[in-house]
């Protein structure tokens, strides 16, 4: 059964979605990601969706849910590399992905994660400042 690899880099987890994200695979990713966050005590999760061409309302909601879940267990989530047409589709679907932080590419996503983690440590709050 196919699965999406979750890589650990320091205190962050990196997920790069390279295949068509169908519903069952997405739910499995949600399961594994949350347990990995707890297991590795990661401080941040980066999800690269630059290869993802189709996002429906289910996947959109799931991304939002993953972000909320990881925050509850103490890790921020950044989604990077969303394609323009995917972004337009999500907006037209009426999803706002309010809990998801975004960045243009992996590089900027990692920078954002570091800022989020640092501000969490310094201020002791769960609300990283909105860069």
């Amino acid at each position: 059964m196919e699965r999406i690899p979750i890589l650990q880099v320091g205190e962050f987890l990196i997920v790069s979605i390279q295949v068509d994200l169908h519903d069952r695979l997405a739910l499995r990713l949600q399961d594994e990601l949350t347990s990995q966050v707890v297991k590795t005590r990661a401080k941040g999760v980066l999800i690269d969706i630059s290869s993802l061409e189709i996002v429906d309302s289910f996947i959109g909601r799931l991304l939002n849910n993953i972000a909320s879940m990881t925050r509850i267990i103490g890790a921020g989530t950044v989604v990077v590399g969303m394609r323009p047409l995917v972004a337009i589709t999500i907006v037209e679907l009426g999803l706002s992905l309010i809990n998801v932080k975004t960045a243009l590419n992996v590089d900027q996503g990692m920078a954002l994660l570091r800022i989020m983690v640092n501000s969490t440590i310094e201020e002791g709050s769960d609300e990283p400042d909105n860069r």
């Binding site: 394609r83 323009p84 337009i88 907006v91 975004t102 243009l104 900027q108």
Partner: protein, 289 residues
């Protein structure tokens, strides 16, 4: 019997082609809708002669009651080309249709002379000729309007392309100055262009400048909001600049809200905000060499 009518009309058209042509030209030039300023008389004469030749040959072979048959194709093509050229020259609809309708009088006069004693034939012939010329006239009008519409469509497309340039202001800052009313079709083009350029230049900040947008109603605001949300999803921040005082007032009266999108009065303010946001510092040089 129908062929008789046809023969007689063809006969009338061919009998004295030169005088018919000059009579027709006189009708065209003396009509109120004549535009001698737009088309030289020699051209008009050539067009009229060509049309007479075409219609005469078709009258012999084709049916007079239906101008959409294969025999009439040359005539229709000719009328299409005439309408198209007159659209470009600046003729109005009725001025263009007069080309056909002014042929009526000369033809009727000739029919009257040819069938002086035979009233029933005369009425039948005049009726057939009227119906035919009316159809041709209407066809000309339709073709004229069709040409006009293609011109309008082309201009709309050109406007769509012209109106959405995305400019790079600085490393990581792109701006799109919007000019004209925003409708759904245009917003989609704007959105796609802007988002694509965000990817291409990997910019963190996108400034939408609406100085050139005359009115901002709820619909336009919604379009702008959508663009900003899409940009946020891609990891860029959207600023809206160029909001004039009147527009600010209208928006508040309408209850339009931009939510948490940063809005500024001018592009300069937005650029200053973007610089601060990206950590750039603009310092005025005080020493001169």
């Amino acid at each position: 019997m129908n062929t008789n009518v046809q023969n007689r009309i063809a006969e009338v058209l061919t009998r004295d082609e030169q005088t018919l042509l000059s009579d027709w030209l006189r009708e065209q030039t003396s009509a109120l809708t004549a535009r001698q300023d737009l088309i030289p008389e020699a051209d008009l004469r050539n067009q009229s002669a060509e049309f007479l030749a075409l219609i005469t040959s078709v009258c012999r072979s084709g049916s007079l009651s239906d101008i959409y048959t294969l025999e009439w194709k040359p005539v229709r093509d000719f009328l299409d080309s005439i309408s198209a050229s007159r659209v470009r020259l600046g003729f109005s609809t009725s001025e263009t249709a007069t080309f056909i309708f002014s042929l009526k009088q000369p033809v009727f006069n000739r029919l009257q002379q040819a069938l002086a004693g035979e009233t029933s034939f005369l009425i039948e012939d005049i009726w057939t000729a009227t119906v035919l010329l009316d159809k041709l006239g209407l066809y000309t009008t339709e073709s004229y309007i069709k040409t006009r519409e293609t011109v309008i469509k082309r201009q709309q497309m050109e406007m769509l392309e012209l109106s959405t340039p995305v400019v790079k202001l600085w490393d990581g800052i792109v701006a799109i100055p919007l000019i004209g009313t925003l409708d759904s079709a245009r917003t989609l083009v704007v959105m796609e262009n802007l988002l694509q350029s965000i990817v291409d230049t990997s910019s963190n900040i996108a400034i939408i400048d609406i100085t050139g947008v005359p009115t901002v109603d709820t619909l336009v605001a919604q379009h702008l909001l959508k663009t900003a949300s899409a940009a946020r999803l891609m990891g860029a921040q959207c600023l809206i600049s160029g909001i004039r005082p009147q527009i600010a007032q209208t928006m508040v009266h309408l209850g339009v809200e931009f939510g948490d999108i940063v809005t500024k009065a001018s592009l300069a303010d937005a650029l200053a905000y973007a610089f601060r946001h990206l950590g750039h510092n603009v310092v005025k040089q005080t020493t001169f060499n």
